[in-house]
Amino acid sequence: MQPDPEMLVRGIRDRNQQAVARAISIIADRRPGWESLLDAVGKEPRTATFIGITGAPGSGKSTLADAITSFYRAGNRRVGIVAVDPSSPFSGGAILGDRLRMQDHAGDPDVFIRSMASRGRLGGLAPATAETAAILAMAGYDPVIIETVGVGQSEVDVMSVADVVLMVLVPGNGDSIQALKAGVMEIGDLFVLNQADRPGSDRLLAEVNAALRLSGDEDCLSRVFQTVATEGRGVPEVATGIDAFLGSLQSDAEKAASRRERQFLRLVNLAVHDMTDEAFEAYRKSGCAPTEGGTSWSEAVRVATGFLDWLRTRPN
């Protein structure tokens, strides 16, 4: 059954939930007709704000997304959410559970939540996250919140999709401190120190401020927020911070330019992803790839490096 892209686009504009949902599937799964639908979505000028949320596992990303949604709903804005969870490397299946922490909006037709599996992608997003967000924007959801996988790896993809990225950190979490040291601070535009009612939150605040100052940010106070997302505490301040960040940073023209650039970057990313998939398959079949497996990150990096060398030197 070949869907009619025009009808789908009309359905998206009419805010028909089923049409929106199906359009997302068509692009995410590369179902027949996905190219023309992608073109139609790409042509649409975007005005909605994309808010990225990233952070270590257990830092409360979904709960923060839920609380931010409540804040915008109180102002009668329609909110879209794209939540990414990891696919199992063994079966390729996934359990997508972020929706569970967004129960305040379950059944609210003005909140559209879409869960996506990372499907092997490493940058923290699912392959068609940006397109999904764009479809939600087209259906009048603004803002669209994008929540990354959150498995503790460097999840940089969200930078190229979101207008503003919230890095969520929690006290007493070894990963957070690790993140500060590993320079993942660069991913976040704003820093949300969640679970601020827990012991150690003041120390975390001091650490984040110090790290920001070290990186040359004199005005770090306007970029760091403390929240208790389960109770909605500190969330209005985060929302104000998002507006201030977006407003102060650029003129409208700059914003549009940067957005165009990001959109194109995304398309390139998508193409690279597809081409690399193919090339890697060829590499594996070429007999040049190491045959013994491994489990660690460093072993994976070693295999990837071998792959890149092979790419550079292969005949065609």
């Binding site: 257990g58 709960t63 359990i95 559970g97 569970l100 922490r101 129960q103 305040d104 389960t230 109770e231």
Partner: protein, 556 residues
């Protein structure tokens, strides 16, 4: 000291004292072939661990530290366990009829099952209650329902256990108010409220408020009951539901006792003295089919708890060291296939619970994997207990399996593995922190998944399910809930709302709100509110406004 000397010390000490107060059921106990059954078999009989110091520290005597062999010196030779069938369905009137039937059949205590809206503090006319009213238990909205539920039941003579957690204060207040109207003072009332919120977050799901205000409600109940309802067991710290959710016997002991530690800590922090409330703590365990592990589990739990209370919390009163518990046979072991086999499973489990020294017991009915039990099934379940009590002989000597090498070794294993888990919970910052981090849920889910997979691939055999199956089974008759129940309940609630003094209700609810905000003990204003016929949902909604609501957070 020689073994005979320490044995004599017990015989002349606490045993003699108990016998002087309460003689045993029979002057002598004998086997069917006429030989004497001794009160207790010890290393002197079994040649296990005859070192008297080791014996008295690790195993000891019934009624003395560490209570491995039981909490009373005469155990079932003095008084049998309480046979307490969990029951309730439909309206208060229907449930009242079932309670009276059970008491006529020789049951010795009541155990009230509430429906899910009641357990979650919602009135029957709440939109979320649709379809659930009267289904898994009785629907209670106001004091009027509670009056009908206990109609003609002698509250001064039976003890009543109520499976109620998040709104436990409200239901206990209703019970006290019903008794009060009949002239029975609260100080005379005996029974138990489950009141164990931590396991609701972990496994059972009938929470309302977030952990902190929930813990405060619990310590308010402890505080109020110590002075006003002294015979009431104010909490039943439950491993039952953790086990139903799929954990192992070791995890059941460990997480239940870790919950217990959290409640004791909360009460001490709220300013109570440990010896003032500890003897009112009771426990609730599951019992599965693996007989040896289950018997050992109960013995290990008693030994660990005694140590925790004496050494960790410095309780001085020996009563504070005793782990007293209710047991229910395992619902999760019942099969929908060949349901009559369930009667056999329940019999084995009953035997294990009794050999493990339970203080009260519920036996499941054979048809509960299919739906609510019929009257016939419930009677068979009760008869199972009576046969074990009066015919099997296991009640005639104390801790009959104590000293068995297998049982003692299992007891030691469960103890040491459970202590390891408790240590892990401590390292995570206590039970509330461990639950918030998802640690406990993950442990339980992993065990459940492993068990499920083993059943699925046949490595764990379940008769009738993955072996010895039968074709074309005919499903037996099961109980049907009257489809009119919900409408009837909603109508009667509406009638009460019209008939009551609504000014008095509003004033009482305002007082509840004040106490919720100020931190004053909530029990007195809640008692006031139920007496004015404020509904359960109305009272809980006031608290929801102040405390907020808990949301499930952990996935898989």
């Amino acid at each position: 000291m020689s073994f005979d000397e320490i044995d004599q010390k017990w015989v002349q000490g606490s045993l003699a004292k108990t016998l002087a107060k309460a003689p045993e059921r029979q002057p002598a106990f004998t086997t069917p072939s006429g030989s004497e059954i001794r009160r207790l078999y010890t290393p002197a009989d079994s040649r296990v661990g005859t070192d008297p110091v080791q014996y008295s520290e690790r195993i000891g005597f019934p009624g003395t530290f560490p209570f491995t062999r039981g909490v009373q010196p005469t155990m079932y030779r003095g008084r049998l366990w309480t046979m307490r069938q969990y029951a309730g369905f439909g309206t208060a009137k229907e449930s009242n009829r079932r309670y009276r039937y059970l008491l006529e059949q020789g049951q010795t205590g009541l155990s009230v099952a509430f429906d899910l809206p009641t357990q979650i503090g919602m009135d029957s006319d709440s939109p979320m209650a649709a379809g659930e009213v009267g289904k898994v238990g009785v629907a209670i909205d106001t004091l009027a329902d509670m009056e009908i539920l206990f109609d003609e039941i002698p509250l001064d003579r039976v003890t009543t256990s109520m499976t109620i957690n998040a709104p436990a204060m409200v239901l206990l207040a209703m019970y006290i108010a019903v008794a009060g109207k009949r002239g029975i003072p609260a100080s005379e009332l005996g029974g138990t409220i489950q009141n164990d919120i931590l396991k609701e977050y972990i496994a059972r799901g009938t929470y309302i408020f977030p952990p902190r205000p929930s813990m405060r409600l619990i310590t308010d109940i402890f505080g109020y009951c110590t002075g006003n309802v002294p015979k009431w067991n104010t909490i039943s710290i439950s491993g039952y539901h953790l086990r139903e959710a799929g954990c192992t016997a070791v995890q059941e002991v460990a997480f239940t006792l870790a919950d217990g530690i959290a409640y004791v800590e909360a009460a001490i922090k709220a300013g109570l003295d440990v010896d003032d409330f500890a003897s009112r703590l009771s426990f609730f365990f599951n019992v599965h089919n693996n007989f040896i592990e289950e018997v050992a589990k109960f013995r290990a739990a008693r030994r660990i708890w005694a140590g925790i209370m004496r050494d960790r919390f410095g309780a001085k009163n020996p009563k504070s060291w005793m782990l007293r518990f209710h047991t229910q046979t395992a619902g999760s072991t019942l099969t929908a296939q060949q349901p009559e086999n369930n009667a056999i499973r329940v019999a084995i489990q009953t035997l294990a619970a009794v050999a493990g020294g339970t203080q009260s017991l519920h036996t499941n009915s054979r048809d509960e994997a299919l739906g609510l039990p019929t009257e016939d099934s419930v009677r068979l379940a009760l008869r199972t207990q009576q046969i074990v009590a009066y015919e099997s002989g296991v009640a005639d000597t104390i801790d009959p399996f104590g000293g068995s090498w297998a049982i003692e070794a299992e007891t030691d294993r469960i103890e040491s593995e459970a202590l390891e888990y408790i240590g892990e919970v401590d390292r995570l910052g206590g039970m509330i922190a461990a639950i918030e981090a998802g640690f406990v849920q993950k442990q339980i889910q992993d065990s459940a998944f492993r068990a499920g997979r083993e059943i699925d691939d046949g490595t764990r055999r379940i008769v009738g399910v993955n072996c010895f199956q039968m074709e074309n089974e005919v499903e037996p008759e099961i109980l049907q809930i009257n489809p009119e129940t919900e409408a009837c309940q909603v109508a009667s609630l509406e009638a009460i709302r019209k008939a009551r003094d609504n000014d008095a209700v509003a004033a009482a609810l305002a007082a509840v709100k004040d106490a919720a905000v100020s931190g004053a003990n909530l029990f007195p204003p809640v008692l006031q509110a139920v007496s004015a016929y404020a509904s359960l949902g109305e009272i809980c909604n006031v608290m929801r406004d102040v405390f907020g609501e808990y949301r499930e957070e952990v996935v898989l």
